[in-house]
């Protein structure tokens, strides 16, 4: 049985699906007996989701998209365009 310190250490890897089967089993067994770590897992899950939300990234501005489209069509930076 792992303790809280070890459970916390594995928490983000668990959320990233990066833990192997045995560490997952041990981690989940710990959660069944530890309300505190369940709370921290939920907190970490929300925190991770907050950071992962790609919607926070502004969309590519239209003038950049236009410049990129020109490059993709020409295969290079057209003459006279800033690099």
């Amino acid at each position: 049985m792992i303790d809280c310190r070890e459970a916390v250490r594995r928490m983000w890897a668990y959320l990233d699906h990066e833990l192997a089967t045995q560490p997952v089993t041990e981690f989940e067994a710990h959660l069944e007996t530890c309300q505190r770590c369940c709370g921290e897992l939920e907190f970490s899950r929300q925190l991770r989701a907050m950071v992962a939300d790609d919607e926070r990234s502004p969309a590519m501005p239209s003038h950049v998209r236009s410049r990129i489209e020109t490059i993709l069509a020409a295969g290079d930076v057209p003459s006279g365009e800033p690099g």
Partner: protein, 218 residues
């Protein structure tokens, strides 16, 4: 921020031969279009500056165009583009006399490694009457607050977070993109998370989002 002129990516050398012939160019454009928005988002989180991100996207695509014939498997194009963007960004920083990291990077912020945001919120108890203390803390942050805190993480520690948490690469894939051993990637990822946790708490205190116990004292 550096002078806008200094921020510009140097113009790539013109080649006597076309970078790609028409058929390849069309194929490359298809690959690029499939990942363009994600690539821009990646560059923006990497540079934290819209102008730099624009230049980096452009430089990435020009480099990718030149190397396109080396891409064997289009299913790995996203990681391939992100790796090119990372290298281009490193070159930009180097050109400005800066680097993503130094040899002692893994010793940086060692004190912060033990910081626990979850535990700090319990101890400081900024919402004494809340039933959802920790989630209420997270609800304090607007999008721009998150962006500011995330952007303040040391770049070498921010990169693994961007690749894995935001863009869904596995740690192994992220290590490949950054060309570092898996152990180094995991270590930096951990540091990045800890800087994120500490950054959120410090930001909340500095910007008056929470009142700490000490400040309550008369």
């Amino acid at each position: 921020m550096a002078n806008a002129l200094e921020m510009k990516v140097s113009q790539p050398a013109r080649l006597a031969e076309p970078v790609l012939y028409t058929a390849d160019l069309s194929s490359f454009a298809e690959v690029a279009h499939a990942h363009l928005d994600r690539l821009y988002g990646f560059c923006l989180r990497l540079t934290t500056d819209p102008s730099d991100a624009e230049d980096l996207v452009q430089e990435t695509l020009l480099r990718a165009m030149r190397a396109y014939r080396d891409l064997r498997d289009s299913s790995s194009a996203k990681g391939w583009l992100f790796a090119i963007a990372t290298n281009a960004w490193r070159d930009q920083l180097r050109a400005r006399g800066r680097q993503i990291h130094t040899v002692s990077i893994d010793a940086l912020d060692a004190d912060g490694d033990e910081f626990s945001l979850f535990q700090t919120i319990v101890i400081e108890d900024p919402f004494p009457y809340s039933d959802e203390l920790h989630l209420d803390f997270l609800r304090l942050f607007r999008d721009e607050d998150i962006v500011a805190v995330f952007g303040s993480i040391t770049p070498a520690f921010r990169l693994p977070l961007i690749l894995t948490v935001v863009h869904g690469f596995s740690c192994k894939e992220a290590a490949g993109i950054l060309q570092v051993p898996l152990g180094t990637l995991l270590s930096r990822l951990h540091r990045g998370r800890k800087q994120l946790e500490r950054g959120l708490w410090d930001y909340a205190v500095t910007n008056g989002l929470v009142t700490t116990i000490d400040e309550d004292k008369p």
